[in-house]
Symmetry: C2
Subunit: 372 residues, 2 copies
């Protein structure tokens, strides 16, 4: 299911292939976020054709809207959305604790009020696996507890115990479930405590999962703290299985996490930044609202060969962005995702070529020029 | 420039070809509205590939944003937007009198305050031709005075005199201008007074324009009044030149106007309705918000072969519409425009086949089933 192809000599970076029931994914991989089953503004084939053969959707959101009875009629989320690649569904743990109007954890599960209509729901690890089996997700994520960035040690320890118990229960639920080729990933937590990070990673490593995620990071902590935590988590997860850093991130965060041995990433940054007019280019980032692009007849990035840059001027993109034309969001989203696709290709190639450290340094330097 | 191919025996309907400097357009034709140079949510090639080889943009809006210095750098609005078809630019008369914060007509021209920033501008017929020459519009429209739907006779008469004078001045401005193949259309007015409609149409018919428009309709009057007015206008415009009914309309309005000898149409209905979830189908209209589409695995219209209906279920389209995903606006816009493209194809074919009256009756019957 996961095969390491090339290991970097100087860092823990590696390239590999993750085989899901639908596609073969080259790692390190970036997964665009399609919370409700759709990457905002783009068609499923535009995402796939841009080189993204796996995307993220969110169990919590899909469960609330359109609801599971709708998905059941289609047989899978993939059939419903017509996305031709693989879908990884986040369990919704993060959303339950960050989005819903009210949430409460017990050892049994989590109750929460929908952020849509205030209806009360109760989720258990077993139920979340069941839902993801109904979604027929290529990759299912366990339900976990997100304590928030400010949790004290006692709280972090308690939530970690529950998350570890839920990991075990998720494995059992999967084993008792449909077993139709869906992969299950467990999630390591531990907040910003290195010993808890280590404990969490080691404990789930002993459980029989198809991959292992690192959760609870990129929630407001400094870059240094994030890097330290993810290194501890990654170092204590099985080497022969895919490692997935959830919700990260900036190009340099991704590159540094790859150096720590992480294989998979998702983040709203390229797509959300696009909708806000922030553009990744080969020479840093730019803000399309800047007046200097008003009359710019050249593309956003003269070194970029995306659909936007091949066809449209920066002045036109700025015009339709400033006048709130929806088409600007398509163009900027395609452009930013193309940048991320290129970034991941470069990272993979540099590992294959034994040049990863050079690229890492270059990306870390570049980052200083960016706004993001 | 305009060639009539087939005349209907029972009505004034006809098919023809309108040759602009960029494309040959089969008439009767519907032109989608891209006010700011872009049909909302779609790419230029999506519009063109859907069979729309001419679209509408608005001089008033483009003049304000991005501004003429930007267009000048690109040489034309077409170069700026990269739309491969022809562009007809409305003069902005309607917008000056309906959108701006303040407007005042004198015989010389119209002063108005921008609806964007409140800046004051003064437009003359000559200036509007000059702007459209800078836009390099395939079809330029004269500046006209829109009196509003409630104008009394005295006001209507006065505004008509000004509009007729501006027609003459527009012709002179065109003759003294760049003459690089841009067509000029004059606009007949006359509010809801048949004799003024007749006078207006006859007077501009004596002037040397490439086409003649009917303005000031579909602004709140009854269907009967609109039909009566447009018939009077159309009957008094030159038969050998294209006739363009501005801002119309519903499928049945278009079909009835074709019967009166109209060749060209533009309207925001298919695109705006799409964004509001109103969908044209072969069996009438539907509202995508209706709960019965929640679990509908079939397409919006099983007889439709548009990109949306060929690829996506009504349930998916409803899901992304209800969750305000931008992609729903693309899908519904493509679908509704496909419906309009099909309607115009059917109208043209029925005229060629001598079956137009049958189609007209069918469309008039259908309309009773629609919400729009």
């Amino acid at each position: 299911m996961f095969r390491i192809i090339k290991k970097d000599v100087k860092t823990a970076a590696r390239t590999g292939e993750l085989v899901t029931k639908n596609v073969v994914i080259k790692t390190p991989v970036f997964m665009p976020v399609g919370t409700l089953g759709t990457v905002k503004s783009l068609s499923p084939s535009e995402i796939f054709d841009e080189g993204f053969h796996i995307m993220l959707a969110n169990t919590y959101h899909i469960f609330l809207r359109p609801g599971m009875d709708v998905i059941e009629k289609f047989g899978s989320l993939r059939n419903f959305t017509r996305y031709p690649g693989s879908i990884l569904t986040d369990s919704g743990g993060f959303q339950i604790f960050s989005l819903s109007k009210f949430s409460r954890v017990t050892e049994e599960g989590a109750s929460f009020m929908s952020h849509i209509d205030g209806a009360t729901h109760f989720m258990t690890p077993e139920k979340v696996i069941g839902i993801q089996e109904t979604l027929d997700s290529d990759i299912m994520m366990q339900l976990d507890v997100f304590s928030g960035p400010d949790a004290a040690r006692e709280r972090a320890e308690k939530d970690l115990e529950i998350t570890l118990d839920w990991a075990k229960r998720s494995i059992s639920a999967r084993d008792n479930g449909k077993r139709n080729g869906n992969l299950l990933f467990l999630i390591s937590q531990g907040n910003f405590f290195e010993d808890l990070r280590e404990k969490s990673a080691k404990k789930i490593s002993a459980m029989d999962a198809d991959g292992y995620a690192i959760g609870g990071l990129a929630v407001g902590e400094t870059k240094d703290v994030m890097l330290k935590m993810l290194k501890t988590s990654a170092a204590n997860l099985p080497e022969e299985k895919p490692r997935y850093l959830m919700g990260v991130g900036k190009p340099s965060d991704i590159a540094n996490a790859v150096a720590a041995g992480v294989d998979m990433f998702d983040c709203v940054l390229p797509t959300r930044n696009a909708r806000n007019g922030f553009v990744y280019t080969s020479s840093g980032t730019l803000n399309i609202k800047n007046a200097k692009y008003r009359t710019e007849t050249g593309p956003l990035d003269s070194l970029c060969d995306c659909y936007c840059c091949k066809n449209f001027s920066a002045a036109y993109v700025r015009h339709i962005f400033m006048t709130k034309e929806i088409f600007s969001q398509r163009l900027l989203t395609i452009h930013n995702l193309h940048y991320y696709a290129g970034l991941m290709r470069k990272i993979r190639k540099s590992i294959e070529d034994g040049m990863f450290t050079d690229l890492l340094n270059e990306i870390n330097r570049m980052e200083h020029n960016t706004l993001l």
